[in-house]
């Protein structure tokens, strides 16, 4: 037997309830704890061990030597020298697996909560951390 209109009480009841959906682009939803967003880099903590480069499954990280610039102060004895390498992160390749953050011995890489990073150009998705 067809139970015609069995849904009607529920449907009419729904009118009084708040909508189950959110107005997404205008009202942001907080992301959960431990969310893997965009990788960020703390260059002061980095040793340059390249563990992240080796472990990155999508080859999204590059660490390369910086070309010497004339504005760099000359190295002095007994002080930390200026960092001579920089990290390039290709967000268009990154799969947000957080391997880099896990493998880093100094916790120099962490993933923040930013996830709206889509863009039309590759250039905008190439982050350079000096």
């Amino acid at each position: 037997m067809l139970k015609a209109g069995i849904l009607i009480p529920e449907l009419l009841g729904n009118i009084g309830l708040a909508p189950a959906t959110r107005e997404y682009p205008f009202a942001k939803t907080p992301v959960p704890e431990g969310f893997r967003g965009t990788p960020r880099f703390r260059s002061s903590a980095c040793l340059g061990c390249k563990a992240c480069v080796r472990d990155c499954t999508s080859e999204a990280i590059e660490i390369e030597m910086k070309p010497p610039s004339p504005s760099d102060p000359p190295p002095e004895k007994g002080r930390n020298p200026v960092k001579k390498f920089r990290m390039i992160l290709y967000l268009d390749r990154c799969i947000h697996c957080a391997r880099c953050a896990e493998v880093c011995p100094k916790d120099a890489i962490y993933l923040d909560q930013e996830f709206e990073i889509a863009d039309f150009s590759h250039e905008a998705l190439r982050l350079v951390f000096d």
Binding site: A4, G5, N14, I15, L17
Partner: protein, 322 residues
């Protein structure tokens, strides 16, 4: 002046402009109500609470590329949307808004309106037929099959108030409960009202009677090959058909729109909206049925129900109750 008045009547009120604005408003209301029943929000960002979303949708379609399929009959393919839109707008000219006698009203205009409201279904069939696509052809045959199911109960249901009022003129039928004092003629016709509501839903090809346009089976049915301006015209046709059908059901079964300009105008909006909301509850509460199910449903239940209603009314009428 002799020229301007009919022109205003056709183009502004209650012609094209009024029908366009009111029908897009009704579509917005229908979509909003439908969304709220499903715990969604519905249109939100175009205008106040998305009230301009149907207008925006139609405008967007007007600026899209307009493609005629290679093997299609170009003339007939382009004629169909215009013909369908013209038919529903003409039918809308007979809405007895505010109890003014419509400009072109005459004894028997109910029959004209009923036939004008059948034109969209035939137009849909021909549109599918001239698109020479398998999906369109299947959709077109389904339109006709479905037409044979709902058309007779629809006519019979709208015949009931005409029999009650003893007139074929829509305005006379709408004013009957107030002029004769027999207001209880309205609750008596509830069965015919429900049949008219369901068959209007079938005429509009909305869930659960959207078999010709079943997108999971036949893509878009008769409208598969349509795009751009022509599709926009079909959308307007569907919106205005919803307005005209609901307004006529409100006029015939809900006691018309009495009470002068403001009160009468308010009643047009409220009563038509009530019919549209009922249609939207039907749309939300049921899933699409098969083509054989709609045939058996309308001939086993809808047609007998409208006949029983007619019999009740005729017996009351024969005993001089009205």
């Amino acid at each position: 002046m002799e020229v301007i008045k009919p022109l205003l009547y056709i183009l502004v009120f209650p012609g094209f402009a009024f029908q366009f604005v009111f029908s897009t408003y009704l579509e917005w209301m229908d979509r909003k109500f439908y969304a709220r029943m499903q715990n969604r929000r519905g249109p939100l960002y175009t205008g106040y609470n998305g009230i301009l979303q149907p207008v925006a949708d139609i405008f967007k379609l007007f600026f899209k590329e307009d493609i005629v399929p290679a093997g299609a009959d170009r003339f007939m393919f382009s004629l169909m949307p215009i013909l369908g839109l013209a038919a529903v707008i003409t039918a809308g000219l007979y809405i007895p808004v505010w109890f003014f006698t419509p400009y072109n009203s005459f004894e028997g205009d109910l029959i004209v309106v009923l036939y004008l409201l059948s034109v969209p279904s035939l137009v849909l069939f021909l549109a599918g037929w001239f698109s020479v696509s398998p999906f369109s052809l299947i959709g077109a045959t389904r339109v006709l099959t479905q037409l044979f199911a709902y058309e007779v109960p629809f006519f019979l249901a709208l015949l009931t108030p005409a029999v009650v009022a003893g007139s074929w003129q829509i305005r006379t039928i709408a004013t009957f409960p107030w002029t004769s004092g027999a207001w209880w003629a309205i609750p008596i016709q509830v069965l015919a009202f429900m049949v008219a509501l369901l068959t209007l839903q079938a005429k509009l090809e909305r869930v659960p009677f959207d078999i010709p346009e079943a997108e999971t089976e036949v893509v878009g049915g008769p409208l598969t090959e349509y795009s751009g301006k022509k599709l926009a015209m079909f959308r307007m046709q569907k919106d205005i058909l919803m307005l005209v059908g609901s307004a006529f059901i409100a006029a015939l079964f809900m006691g018309g729109f009495p009470g002068g300009i403001w009160l009468g105008g308010l009643q047009v909006v409220i009563k038509t909206a009530i019919v549209v909301l009922l249609l939207s509850v039907v749309r939300a509460a049921f899933a699409r049925i098969r083509i054989d199910q709609i045939i058996s449903f309308s001939w086993k239940y809808l047609a007998p129900a409208s006949l029983i209603q007619l019999l009740v009314v005729l017996i009351l009428k024969g005993n001089g109750v009205f």
